[in-house]
């Protein structure tokens, strides 16, 4: 089961589209499990949220084995700097575990036209599939058309696809089949 928790306001129609898309991508039941406040400890001095701290300190949610929880925030997320600097952050997932977070801050603006709303929804769905994919043991994929391709990559199309490539899909299906429940 995939549970979506919002930490900022997300349009209900966008959430409906997201749950439907996640169900199609992974074949798992998906539902919106309510809202939670942003944990105070996750806020950084520069106004961004520490993605790792947010997942550590967010209020717990009642889950069962193999449930995956996706937290959606509106504020920009940040990651600690690595050997070559700070990588851009569109989201963060506890690899092969049960919690992930994504931000709507980097998505194309929702706007008011049908096209802009559609683009916003599709990109939101792509980032959600990407984060849930990490929870199901998927690594980044070199295929720019795959949802597991890094979100900051320069080879990504302006409106990228929100599907997994054949390799990632098969791998995620295998992992889901082998899951305890």
């Amino acid at each position: 089961m995939i549970r979506i928790v919002t930490l900022d306001r997300v349009d209900p129609t966008d959430l409906a589209f997201l749950t439907r898309t996640l169900y199609q991508a992974f074949g798992l039941g998906t539902e919106h499990s309510g809202e939670r406040p942003i944990p105070a400890g996750a806020e950084r001095k520069d106004g961004r949220l520490d993605a790792i701290g947010l997942l550590r300190e967010v209020a717990p949610l009642r889950t069962f084995a193999d449930d995956k929880v996706l937290y959606i925030v509106g504020a920009p997320l940040a990651l600690p700097a690595g050997p070559l600097g700070e990588p851009p952050c569109w989201g963060f997932a506890e690899y092969n575990k049960d919690r992930a977070t994504i931000t709507t801050h980097n998505l194309p603006p929702r706007g008011v036209t049908e096209t802009s709303i559609e683009n916003h929804r599709r990109r939101l769905a792509r980032e959600a599939i990407h984060a849930i994919g990490h929870l199901w043991d998927l690594h980044h994929c070199y295929d720019a058309r795959c949802a597991m391709h890094p979100s900051w990559s320069t080879s990504l199309a302006p409106n990228p696809e929100m599907d997994l490539c054949a390799f990632c899909r098969e791998k995620s299906e295998r992992k889901i089949r082998l899951a305890k429940t």
Binding site: I52, Y142, D143, S153
Partner: protein, 336 residues
Amino acid sequence: MRGPPARHPDDNARELLPAPEGIISDADQLVPGDRVVYPNQGVCEVVGVEEKDIAGQKLQLVRMRREEDGAAVLVPRNKLTSIGLRRVAAGAQMEGVFHYLAAQFDDPELDWKVRHRDNADRLIAGGVLGVAEVVKGLHSLSRLRPLPAKEREQYDNARHLLVHEVAVSLNVPPGLAEDYIDFALMPPAGAKFDLKPPPKPVLLPSRPKKKRPTTEDEGDLGLGDLGLGDLGIDLEGAIEGGEGAAAAEGGETAEAGAEPAEGGAKEGEGAEAEAAPVRPRAEARAKPEPRAEKRPAKKPAAKPARKEKAPARTAPAKKEKPARAEKKPARKGKKR
């Protein structure tokens, strides 16, 4: 930057190659709680040494626990040094890996057999840099063309191993480690790194080569039985010419290596050695004349035969067609 080098040129250099940094050469170095990297398996934690009775033999086994999934790994104590167990890469070594990942790479190995075999060896014996080389090499190849299924799997496995080792080494979650790796591999627009020269690529031990027939064996190949002598080719002369060429090359290298004081005598010998084989070479060069004669001799022999056949195929009523028959050989002649 060029791709990883080929295998070590020296066949007997397996023992001479530098072992990957941090490799465990003695089982006594391990203490319960140590984190080690088991090649192709990932990061393991040493639990302890235990003695087991297996098939009537008492074996001392080192028990390890794979951190990723908690799987138990038991290795006989005396085989610990041969499996390539090594310590988790240290800070400086890991920094080198990131500089290697971020460097430009434009020379992937295009022969898939060589590539797949080398990559498999790198994953086992190359240390953390070997794993990074596999990821980098296959990633740069994937920009040229999609990877075949087997290599896609290998790429994913290598990435998995690298992500976990980076995570353990830098003490960060694996998800963040993967972001670090891809930040170096696929930098976002506008990102510029202050890169240091990457570490030297891993040298792989050479594999046993297939036995090639020696020149003596080649002499017994029965070339004389092929009837090539009837064609007017002087086989002995050609072979001598080949040997002479090799000798001449050898003479040149000997000259190059010789000291100037001894140069006079050696050069004289070399000159003699060169002079002897040059004759058949000159003969061989002069001999193309009969070949040139033979080729035109063959063509007219073949063409008239067809010309003769062509009227036989055609019905006797269509006698005007010889013009067509003349055209056909003309076309073939052009193709040749």
